[in-house]
């Protein structure tokens, strides 16, 4: 994932997408993980996270012609849209009358969000069997036994794959922050 600091490349991407909306895909790929990580922590279910993430990018695409470059990272603009949509959803559901402080602090890109967003890329770099176990276990919420049956391996072997995958991810995260 690219640095969140606004740079010339990001600005060129934005200008290109404003002239040619098909170039929006590049902005989407660069910011999807951030937006999803930001939203997923603030809604109770994965389905809601999916819906809100989709709404954020749809609104961003339609509002891109009016986007004015003010030096803020593009991800900050997207998270601002996400904050607005999350707050509106909460108000609509009447589950919470007061907005959470974290939701309002959306002008920049929270460090925690940025760290979580990295995991999508790190998981892609795992060995295939570890990557499969991580996806089935954490995304699809399968049990170790189910995964073992799918792969035709023992429960112990799947637990070992899970342990090695998380250890690898921890080492990679630590190396990125050192």
């Amino acid at each position: 994932m690219k640095a969140i600091e606004p740079d010339a490349d990001e600005r060129q991407l934005i200008e290109a997408a404003r002239r040619d909306p098909s170039r929006f895909a590049e902005l989407y790929e660069a910011n999807f993980d951030r937006v999803y990580a930001f939203i997923a922590r603030r809604v109770p279910t994965r389905e809601e996270a999916d819906d809100l993430t989709a709404d954020v990018f749809r609104q961003a695409l339609s509002s891109l012609p009016s986007f004015e470059w003010q030096g803020m990272p593009f991800a900050g603009w997207l998270l601002g849209i996400a904050t607005h949509l999350i707050a509106r959803r909460w108000q609509r559901a009447a589950k919470q009358t007061a907005l959470p402080v974290e939701a309002l602090e959306s002008v920049g890109v929270p460090e925690q969000t940025e760290r979580r967003a990295i995991f999508s890329q790190l998981v892609e770099r795992l060995p295939e069997d570890q990557r499969y176990v991580v996806r089935r276990r954490f995304i699809d919420h399968r049990s170790i036994r189910e995964i073992a049956q799918e792969l035709g391996r023992s429960v112990g072997a799947i637990k070992q794959l899970q342990f090695r995958a998380l250890e690898t991810l921890r080492m990679q995260v630590r190396s990125r922050h050192e």
Partner: protein, 356 residues
């Protein structure tokens, strides 16, 4: 790999996924890995990521056509620098040039240049012809001058078909208009409305006086006769005047007044005014010779405003006399008037042919 660590980690992850809290008895390694497991809990599904990307691209596609059109316009605007074909460059990126097209383009340009040169030469050679098919017409009689007191002329004549020639005598006084013609022999002794006989002419004109009424220019003094003419009056002419002329005047002329011939300008007679005067054409002979000159025509402008008896007084040759006569014959005038009566007058008209 310690299998107990893997078991503990799975136990902790199961508790985490179930919404429980971490157990304090887990070893430090497990506590270090649990935040990783917590973050993995919020990973997006790869298929969702791909499907949303496809949706956005499809949505963006609706804008692409407009964007493509704008891009085409921008490209067209910058085209001169990149698409103007270099004539003799063949490397990659150069606009291809076909020999046949190049030859055709060259021929068309040569033809266009030749056309421009030829038309310019023709204009120079035919400069005078093109600009001088017009001519200026000037009447030698100055229409705007006041009438001269002495140059008028005219005449009249009459009679009542008598077998005897008109007898000499005094003409009646001039007046305008004429109420009744003069007679040497009174045929109606008791007219219903008696009136003084007069002839048409200027009242100040003086004619010879005789003891009785008659034609002052008659050869015989008697016996009294109104003469062999017609239309009343005295003489051998016609028209109620006195003499051998025509009209209500005195003398051999016509149209009234005295002195003979048609009226001329002056003596209270203003010039007729041309109301339709088409320009004459240059003759082909004069055009080729680039000849310029003037023609003076004599014409009688009748009381109906039509010119007649056109004749050339001063010739110019080269066919210009005929062209001038043809043009003036088509002219129409507001006729000259003596008093309230339109009268025929003789005028001279100068037709000038000039090369500008």
């Amino acid at each position: 790999m310690n299998s107990s660590l893997a078991d503990q980690l799975d136990e902790a992850i199961s508790a985490l996924l179930a919404g429980g809290k971490t157990a304090p008895h887990w070893v430090r390694e497990i506590h270090q890995l649990l935040p990783i497991a917590d973050d993995l809990w919020y990973l997006p599904r790869p298929e969702f990521r791909a499907s949303l990307r496809d949706q956005l691209l499809q949505r963006a596609g609706n804008h692409v056509f407009g964007a493509l059109a704008q891009a085409a316009q921008r490209k067209a605007a910058t085209r001169p620098e990149s698409v103007v074909p270099p004539l003799f460059i063949t490397e990659s990126g150069a606009f291809p040039v076909r020999g046949s097209h190049l030859a055709l383009s060259f021929a068309l340009h040569v033809a266009a240049l030749a056309l421009v040169v030829a038309s310019g030469w023709w204009m120079v050679e035919n400069h005078a012809v093109v600009r001088n098919t017009m001519a200026q017409l000037i009447a030698t009689d100055n229409y705007s001058l006041p009438p001269a007191p002495t140059t008028a002329s005219g005449g009249g004549g009459g009679g009542d078909n008598d077998k005897m020639p008109a007898s000499r005598g005094s003409a009646p006084r001039f007046a305008t208009p004429q109420l009744t013609p003069l007679t040497a022999i009174i045929r109606n002794e008791s007219p219903i409305l008696p009136a003084e006989p007069t002839v048409v002419g200027p009242p100040e004109a003086v004619l010879p006086e005789f003891p009785r009424a008659g034609d002052p220019m008659a050869d015989v003094s008697g016996p009294p006769s109104n003469g062999t003419g017609t239309g009343g009056g005295i003489g051998s002419g016609r028209g109620g005047g006195v003499g051998s002329g025509e009209g209500p005047g005195v003398g051999a002329g016509r149209g009234g007044r005295t002195g003979g011939g048609v009226y001329r300008l002056g003596g209270g007679i203003p010039a007729p005014r041309a109301i339709y005067a088409p320009d004459p054409e240059f003759s082909e002979e004069a055009r080729k010779a680039k000849y310029q000159g003037s023609v003076i025509l004599s014409a009688i402008i009748g009381s109906d405003g039509r010119p007649r008896d056109l004749r050339v007084v001063r010739s110019s040759g080269m066919g210009l006399d005929e062209k001038a006569t043809e043009a003036v014959a088509r002219w129409r005038f507001e006729p000259a008037h003596m008093g309230n009566q339109p009268v025929a007058v003789q005028v001279n008209i100068e037709v000038v042919f000039r090369l500008y």
